[in-house]
Amino acid sequence: MSEILDLGAREIARAVSAKKTSALEVAEAALERAQARDGAVGAYLTITADVAREQARRVDARIAEGASLFLAGVPVAIKDNMCLAGTRTTAASKILGEWIAPYTATAVQRLLDAGAIPVGKANLDEFAMGSSCENSALGVTHNPWDLARVPGGSSGGSVAAVAAGMATFALGSDTGGSIREPAAFCGVVGFKPTYGRVSRYGLIAFASSLDQIGPIAKSIVDCALVYEIIAGADPADATTVAREVEPALGALREDLKGVRVGIVREFDLASLESDVRAVYEQAYRDLERLGAELVDVELPTADYGVATYYLIAPAECSSNLARFDGMRYGLRVEKADVGATYEATRAAGFGDEVKRRILIGTYALSSGYYDAYYVRAQKARTLIAADFEKAFERCDVIACPAASSPAFEFNAKSDPVSMYLMDYYTIPMSLAGLPSLSVPCGYVTPAGSTNPLPLGLELTAPLFAERPLLGIAHAYERGTLHAEKHTPPVCHPERSERMRAESKGEPAL
């Protein structure tokens, strides 16, 4: 029965719809597999077994009534910063450690309406702030390709669940790269749609002008399917755009004839390790082989992306996280007066990275510094977006690395700025609000290791050009088949045991 879990979302939904199997059988198989594999991986903070079974029975009943559901019985992992009514929703923070969501996020509800089965709530960096998942206050997630390495972040649990075959697809959220960088680290596809395409209602806010929910899956086809289901205007989120969502599945192409792919002059591959560089050089050649024309484009302000982002995102975070005051929900540490209660609650409830970002954001917004930091960063953002606009006069998509290295080992990036630079290739696109994805593009094997580690190619398109973006990514994926060359060892039980024995032990939280 567990073989069905290795099929794509469409195949599972077809099998369930044709009553070759039931949603309940698929749900039981997914729960069993999570039981078997998640001890090693740690992708889930909560396994939602009751919700999964209840939803599966509902789906089977609807199928029996003749309903047609695009995600009938398809197991999904939901990043734990999205609300699912009646389940613990934590943002991987102690301040929300025991909070039960009283309502369901719009994107999650659309998946449930389409028949998907929520297997669990996936780990993340606390409040989605991080690039390795190491900032989770509630659990450690290991990279399924090498348990001694991080899965990337912040959607680390979501990508690890998909890579380890514990969910057919996942929802992640991306503020500066939190879907694309971990997808690259775990060898899956991660897709951030245009800002405003997917409702943020029920997504615990980090930086509201940047946050965007998107799908993570093993293929572009599955990402396109999920995107079509979750995208679209929502009265509960005034920033969603009232634009038609063009069906992407029908536009998936098999070659790249007539496509102009922009290669960014400032993203010099010479700065990468030679083995990583060789993978990306091959990726660019593959794009050409498939019929694309490579054109040089310039993004002179992209180099300012990280600096711009680390003023804007913390400023918005300091404002959004002001709501965690211990009064109406979440943790409260009672002190003599209300001010001391606020301060003690937030001191005990937030981890280091969240505190750092609240502090930097508060500083950047404080009297006397607002213009010098926050407004200047917003103006830099205008320049970055304008650079992309100019570049897209010459090309249909931009190709570049999703990250400068494969997944790194735990505790490898101890100073915050070196961690922030992990998002060098993803942040500029986020600031410009562009649709952007990471698709597997090859492997490197670090010295002294036998495990290949995946790398991701980032493809980015103009605002609202999801349809051509997914089409082009599909042609690249089908023309290279990197994801089919290797499987994470954790998907082979006997190898997984050996890996656990060889792994350097549990990293400290």
Binding site: W99, I100, P102, Y103, Y195, G196, S209, P235, A238, T239, V241, T301, Y304, V306, A307, T308, L311, A322, G326, M327, R328, Y329, G330, L331, R332, E334, D337, V338, G339, Y342, E343, R346, A347, F350, K355, R356, L359, I360, T362, Y363, S366, A372, Y373, R376, A377, Q378, K379, A380, R381, T382, L383, A385, D415, P416, V417, Y420, L431, A432, G433, L463
Partner: protein
């Protein structure tokens, strides 16, 4: 301009209690970040408009009709302290008398 953040003052604004060790550690780390963002001073930003959001929308309205809200009991379930159908919170005004 960069380098020095009065961490205790900013922490007070942000309503986070910090230990002496945290003040020292965060002070150094935030200083390093400010050095990094100092690069923005080099950008020519005169006459550039600030971008708050890349897909701008203005005055999104809905009809002024009642909408269902969350059930009171479900919401109060999450309260750190409640009293009947109220949130119980610390006193915010001075002692009476």
């Amino acid at each position: 301009m960069p380098g020095e953040i009065d961490v205790p003052y900013v922490a007070k604004l942000a309503r986070v209690a910090l230990s002496a060790a945290e003040i020292e550690r965060f002070g150094a780390q935030l200083g390093a970040l400010l050095e990094h963002v100092e690069a923005l001073q080099k950008l020519p930003i005169e006459n550039v408009a600030a971008t708050a959001q890349v897909v701008p929308s203005v005055n999104v309205m809905r009809d002024d009709v009642e909408q269902p809200c969350l059930p009171r009991d479900v919401v109060l379930e999450a309260a750190p302290q409640r009293e009947g159908s109220y949130f119980r919170v610390p006193r915010i005004l001075g002692e009476p008398g």
